[in-house]
Amino acid sequence: MAVPADYRYTKEHEWIKVDGNQATIGITDYAQNSLGDIVFVELPKVGDELTAGKTFGSVESVKAVSDLYAPASGKVVAVNDTLETAPEKINSDAHGSWMLRIQLKDSGEVNKLLSADDYDKFVKEEGGH
């Protein structure tokens, strides 16, 4: 699946979509596919601070637990509560299922992340296909 060209990506398979000084964060389709059926998402609360590269929560499928890594630093301004009761939405639409919206601390951080093309290439190498 093609990844959205206007998002940026981490090597841990999170995406970030910048919208002015704010940004939404989720996991990629590749990540959801690797995890399998997602049954549980643990996210921070509004007001919590994220630090780029550090874990901010976790996502669990039936068979695996995976930490979530912050693509950028910032304060959480909104959490997608629907994922608490319907985490399977991430399986059906990973790039549309945002988890958090943050107030970016340093918009420059995002530019260090992978572009869509680079992420695509990275996934192909990692997955070996």
Binding site: G36, D37, S58, E60, K63, V65, N91, G127, G128, H129
Partner: protein
């Protein structure tokens, strides 16, 4: 967590390996075997087996044939259940034990004939089991032959399994009771062993066919074809694990191992102390007299969180009391369940415990097991 396109060096493959890959299964290293963990999705596969039918490639399982005039005596010596009670065409759950009363492996013993017993063993313990069996039947007039590589073993599981197999077999399956087996022509293959066994807690059959690729591929696709009208799904080891966990069936290396004894594992009903001597019996007698230090219990999470394999279990007062052996969301029950070893004083139904889910302590409680029991109904 990344799917691999090629078989990693050194991994063993079943005859159906190429078919699994062609069908887009996610493959994992399971005890040294390159096996499908899921096809369409673990939950869908799990539900297919509970509500209709699914098919698993379980050819990685091993098969040991014990044959000879003293085959029964040998089987009695090396396994804990009473094989003298088996009739021809009947099977039962049993285990191979060390002298300490702990597990070499759990097995299904099939009585093929007066002097022929087939032991179906786990994949990850194949070599160990074969060596152990050979060593311990030496004093008996019998052979122990490793037939593992000769068979492709398919498990067709679920309430509609019988309807699927009926379309492919020329033998009446209705009289074959749970844990019995018969022989018939399946997909044109004469004398195919058809056992009403499985590892899902559901009704179903396991068939043993020649392990050459063309035959294995053909039968696999014929089973899928026959099951299409019932919505059959090819299933991976992921669903196999959640299905067996809901039914509280032990998995070697988790609920049973070389450091866990029969009483602790709560498998005493398959251990026939009165049948006479067998390897492990003395230690089990002693262990029984001394009393249990820990016992396997079922847990259900009360608070939000999933207890998983190796997570620590604490008492309400915060003292560590045990560890989870298998834990997972239960797709059919829609609860988060686990099996864990705890001291007997914490094994009462309703006892509240805390499970350490990464940094948090999440409440769970001891519940009756099996977590899932299929509705009683045999066709």
């Amino acid at each position: 967590m990344s799917p691999t396109a090629e078989v990693k060096a050194g991994l063993r493959k079943t005859a159906l390996n190429a078919v699994h890959r062609k069908m887009g299964a996610k493959m994992v290293d399971f005890g040294g075997w390159d096996m499908p963990v899921e096809y369409s999705g673990l939950i869908a596969e799990h539900m297919a087996v509970r509500t209709s039918v699914g098919v698993f490639d379980v050819s990685h399982m091993g098969d040991i044939l014990i044959r000879g005039p003293q085959a029964l005596a040998a089987v009695q010596h090396i396994s804990m259940n009473d094989a003298s009670k088996l009739q021809q065409g009947q099977a039962h759950y049993s285990a191979l034990l060390y002298p300490e009363g702990t597990f070499v492996d759990d097995v299904i013993v099939h009585k093929l004939g007066e002097n022929d017993y087939l032991l179906v063993i786990n994949a990850g313990t194949r070599e160990k089991d074969v060596n152990w069996v050979r060593q311990n039947v030496r004093g008996f007039r019998c052979h122990a032959d490793d037939l593992s590589d000769y068979y492709t073993q398919l498990a067709i599981q679920g309430p509609k399994a019988i309807d699927v197999l009926r379309k492919l077999a020329n033998v009446d399956l209705s009289p074959v009771k749970n844990y019995w087996f018969t022989y018939g022509t399946v997909c044109g293959l004469p004398n195919t062993m058809i056992a009403r066994t499985g590892y899902t807690g559901e009704d179903g059959f396991e068939i043993y066919i020649p392990s050459d690729e063309p035959t294995s591929d053909r039968v696999w696709y014929e089973v899928l074809g026959a099951g299409r009208e019932f919505g059959i799904l090819p299933c991976g080891l992921g669903a196999r694990n959640t299905l067996r966990l809901e039914s509280k069936m032990a998995l070697y290396g988790h609920e049973i191992s070389d450091t866990i004894n029969v009483w602790e594992a709560d498998l005493g009903r398959y251990c026939k102390m009165e049948k006479g001597n067998f390897i492990g019996r003395d230690a089990l007698e002693k262990a029984k007299a001394e009393g249990l230090k820990r016992i396997l219990v079922g847990l259900e999470m009360i608070e939000r969180g999933i207890g998983r394999d190796c997570y620590k279990v604490f008492s309400e007062s915060g003292q560590q009391i045990g560890e989870i052996t298998s834990g997972s969301p239960a797709p059919f029950l829609k609860k988060n369940i686990a099996l864990a070893y705890v001291p007997p004083q914490y094994s009462q139904i309703g006892t509240v415990v805390l499970v350490e889910v990464r940094s948090q302590k999440v409440k769970g409680q001891v519940v009756p097991t099996p977590f899932y029991k299929r509705p009683k109904k045999e066709k």
